[in-house]
């Protein structure tokens, strides 16, 4: 009986210490994470803010005027679209005001889609002249994570002679995989596209896996930074819901390093 009496408090202390450590780490991680958006905004301000002093500086009062900012936003979107139209490539324009996602080539709208739901990061939706200046140049896709293949290429080996030749069978167009993807832009902004249509139960699991993969990847990077007392990276985001077909068309049409203009 005697050794057990000694063991009990020891175990309790260990448990309390462990729980306290975990709680302390969670608080530390949360505080560091919550601080990261402010740092991101500071970075954007530093890089893109309009000059409010000096010879060519605009009066600070004007920069914060609602009418001026509205026009600045409109100009930023047009500027961004014009820059993309110069190329022969396919690009995407997201207009959060009229809920449209348009695929365009050289200024010609080749495909229109209606967003049913959208959510935009506070940083991007705020009335900040620096953000509008940032939006005046299109975002370039740096990487993508998706539930569907960009180009579902089928490998076929050439027959040795005509006896081995089989004419192409009708392709299977009934494949109905869930469509969900994340486009990461240079500069850290992310665009999340989800299919609007109802998802089958078995697809819910694959969507959950997809979502978890992204979250775990992000958290792992954040944890590594936090471990060395650095603020984690904050990724301003735009989340949109589109009909499945439109989401698929947009993903397959956009080039690997395609460009996107946003009107928030």
């Amino acid at each position: 009986m005697a050794p057990e009496i000694k063991k009990e408090p020891h175990r309790k202390v260990t448990l309390i210490v462990l729980i306290s450590l975990l709680a302390a780490f969670l608080i530390y991680y949360s505080v560091m994470s919550v601080m990261s958006p402010a740092r991101k905004l500071e970075e954007i301000r530093k890089e893109y803010s309009l000059k409010t002093s000096g010879k060519d500086g605009i009066d600070k009062k004007i920069v914060n005027d609602s009418d001026y900012l509205r026009l600045l936003k409109e100009k930023a979107f047009l500027q961004s679209k014009t820059l993309m139209a110069v190329t022969d490539s396919i690009y995407l324009t997201l207009n959060m005001l009229d809920s449209t996602a348009n695929l365009e080539i050289s200024g010609v709208v080749v495909h229109k889609a209606k967003m049913s739901k959208m959510e935009i990061s506070k940083i991007l939706s705020g009335n900040e002249n620096a953000v509008f200046s940032m939006l005046s140049t299109p975002f370039t896709i740096s990487s993508a994570l998706s539930t569907i293949k960009k180009e579902p290429v089928l490998i076929k080996y050439a027959p040795k002679d005509t006896s081995e030749y089989k004419p192409d069978v009708m392709p299977d167009t009934s494949i109905a995989e869930p469509v969900c993807y994340i486009l990461e832009m240079k500069g850290g902004i992310r665009i999340y596209v989800y299919q609007d249509d109802a998802v089958k139960t078995k697809d819910k699991i694959s969507l959950l896996r997809f979502d978890l993969t992204d979250r775990i990847k992000d958290t792992w990077i954040a944890l590594k930074r936090v471990a060395v007392a650095k603020l984690p990276e904050y990724h301003p985001f735009i989340k949109i819901r589109l009909p499945r077909t439109d989401a698929k068309i947009i993903y397959r049409a956009l080039p690997k390093n395609g460009q996107i203009a946003v009107f928030s």
Binding site: L26, Y29, S30, S33, V34, M35, S36, P37, L41, D59, K61, I62, N64, D65, S66, D67, L69, L71, K75, L78, Q79, T82, A85, D88, I90, L103, I105, S106, G107, V108, V110, H111, K122, G126, N127, E128, N129, V153, L154, Y157, A158, P159, D161, T162, S163, E164, Y165, D168, M170, P171, T173, L212, R215, I216, T219, L223, Y234, T245, I249, A253
Partner: protein, 271 residues
């Protein structure tokens, strides 16, 4: 001792009468039944120990899971609740009368006008065709108005490899902006190398009559550069499906309409 005995006896008698009584706890230790339960205790001890281990295990799992969920799902929500990212907007009426303000608004309006004109100039009033390779559909426009739409067939996204792996062909329709380079009536197909490789046939020399096949491309063909064509097909049941080697196939009526609408230089937008 006498008194004590009397009290004990009294308690025993009470328990016998009312086992649900509120004072049962006080007399439990002297209940003979409880005494035998205490004797059983050592035998139950492993069970309690096991239950305790299970409880600790599940509690630990719960704490770990809760922490993971907190990090993965709650922290991102907290990040979006940061307060200081909105600038204060002003709507000062006096400012709007200011000459500097008017000058700045005028400049920005001028820029918007200039950009709008520049941007709208990209969409010309000329005829053009839009090809959707995901849905295998085409849209024909004149004066910015849709005049015809229908099914087409585009690249199958097949990669053909030779046995030795020395030659690789990917059958996909090129995306982006192209234009009509040439228009031909009653075209005959000059079969490229891959069409022989695909069927396991020996590759004939260039300009060999074995390469020419007529009637398979329909009545018209329009070149869009790099060897890609918009043409007709004998495989009409495959329209609406990705089955070609990169060309855009149309049915006879659509092909004729497209041929008559588009001129050399007309734009072809493929996505």
């Amino acid at each position: 001792m006498e008194n004590e005995k009397i009290i004990n006896d009294g308690a025993q008698a009470d328990i016998g009468k009312n086992t649900d009584g509120a004072n049962v706890g006080n007399v439990e230790s002297i209940n003979p039944k409880n005494i035998s339960a205490e004797e059983d205790h050592p035998r139950r001890k492993p069970v309690y120990k096991f239950l305790r281990v299970v409880l600790i295990f599940f509690s630990s799992i719960f704490v770990i899971l809760a922490s993971v969920i907190f990090i993965l799902y709650i922290v991102p929500v907290l990040m979006e609740r940061h307060p200081d990212n909105k600038s204060e907007l002003s709507d000062n009426k006096d400012l709007k009368k200011d000459t500097e303000y008017k000058k700045q608004i005028g400049l920005i309006n001028k820029d918007i006008q200039r950009l709008s004109v520049k941007y709208n100039a990209y969409t010309s009033g000329q005829s053009y065709i839009v090809v959707n390779t995901t849905e295998n559909r085409f849209y024909l426009y004149t004066n910015k108005k849709l005049i015809r739409e229908g099914f087409c067939s585009t690249g199958s996204l097949t990669m053909l490899k030779t046995d030795r792996g020395d030659k690789v062909y990917v059958f996909k329709t090129p995306k982006g902006k192209r234009s009509i380079h040439g228009k031909i009536t009653n075209p005959s197909w000059n079969r490229p190398d891959w069409s022989f490789i695909e069927e396991g046939l020996p590759i004939p020399p260039k300009n060999s009559p074995a390469r020419y096949e007529s009637g398979v491309l329909g009545n018209y063909a329009m070149s869009i550069g790099d060897g890609y064509l918009i043409h007709g097909t004998i495989y009409k049941r495959f329209l609406g499906m990705p089955v070609t080697h990169g060309c855009v196939r149309l049915n006879d009526e659509d092909l004729e309409a497209v041929y008559n609408t588009l001129n050399i230089g007309s734009k072809v937008y493929i996505f």
